[in-house]
Symmetry: C3
Subunit: 154 residues, 3 copies
């Protein structure tokens, strides 16, 4: 394998279902010795904000893949129900909850960055973010670190 292989994953979504793909790929990458960096921006800030990391949700509305009619998915309680169901499936697969997963990946050497602009937009300071965040960086700093990396925008 190329010893300098790098993977840079931009996480821009704040839902439970779109949090896992980045975490799973980051974890797999680290297990293979790939340099991995995660860059959280826009709604993805939810995944690294202390107040929200344990409360991510799956939303059936707007996602026909969940096979719930849109006028039912929008009823009170349906988002909560879908979230509980997905959490059970995730647990059955022995996958850790999001915060624990981030801890694991970080311990394994992945770098975790928050987007400066998104932090400003959402009024999040360093202390509002989980400890695993290595730094708050701008888009140019991110692009500089991601030189030569395979990129993903989730």
């Amino acid at each position: 394998m190329d010893e300098n292989r790098k993977l840079a994953i931009i996480c821009s979504k704040g839902t439970l279902d779109m949090a896992y793909p980045g975490l799973v790929l980051a974890n797999a990458g680290r297990m293979m010795g790939i340099d991995v960096m995660l860059f959280f921006t826009f709604w993805g800030m939810e995944i690294i904000a202390k107040k929200s990391v344990d409360h991510l949700k799956v939303v059936p509305v707007g996602n026909s893949a969940m096979h719930m009619p849109q006028f039912i998915g929008g009823l009170p309680g349906m988002t909560g129900l879908a979230t509980v169901m997905m959490k059970k499936e995730i647990e059955k697969l022995d996958m850790p909850p999001v915060h624990e997963f981030l801890e694991m990946i970080h311990d394994a050497g992945a770098q975790i960055y928050a987007c400066r602009m998104a932090s400003d937009m959402m009024h999040l300071e360093r202390e509002d973010l989980i400890d695993e965040v290595d730094a708050i960086v701008g888009a140019m700093e991110f692009l500089e670190m991601a030189e030569g990396a395979q990129l993903l925008f989730i």
Copy 2:
């Protein structure tokens, strides 16, 4: 052109409108002699599951680009209507329906993989997936195959 050019497309969405971009790029890639692999995960499993591949939908709710007020888009029948309309537009452009398109791309040499974790999560076995799926693979296997590839996460 670089003879070893590779394109690896991760398809994570299960709606009709987000199925086509991956298929169109995969098809274009193969026509240019690029090595193409498609990796279906999360909601993208809908695109390669026998029971859903012919029933993908476009959902106006949550998508302001469809110019339908959110409280109307959520009414019964609106998802079906939007889906019929998009299918007509796709047909007018002489693009094949999703399953046929996957067959074409596969015949042209693109590799089609299903994510093991997503298959487990959605209780899909090999026989539940369309014949064009070459294998069910884990995230590490995928990353190994995608070394040196240009990556896309749809």
Copy 3:
């Protein structure tokens, strides 16, 4: 830095919140001397169509990161409210509105392309698109131009 570094960003979403990430990265890329091309397709056509570029919206429905219950987010007026709020935050950060931002990025040397298939599907002609669009190109032309680039699919 690698002098031939290239970044090719595919923009497939038509909402205000998903317009900015591509613009911000394109802008940062150009400031660093990276070759940048933006390729607008599917719902992303909204961002470069004259009639819609100034009217992009943020949709709280389907996005739990906005912390609005789904049955409230779907009520008349909520999409408009969320959009006004986000525009204010964007202005506070001294970021230009979308059309002005595209102009800036284009002046800085980024190339802006519209997808031919999406233009056909949405019945958009060249004169329906903003002046900054350099050309309407097919998927193969795009892939050819994007050879050796880091790719992003937004």
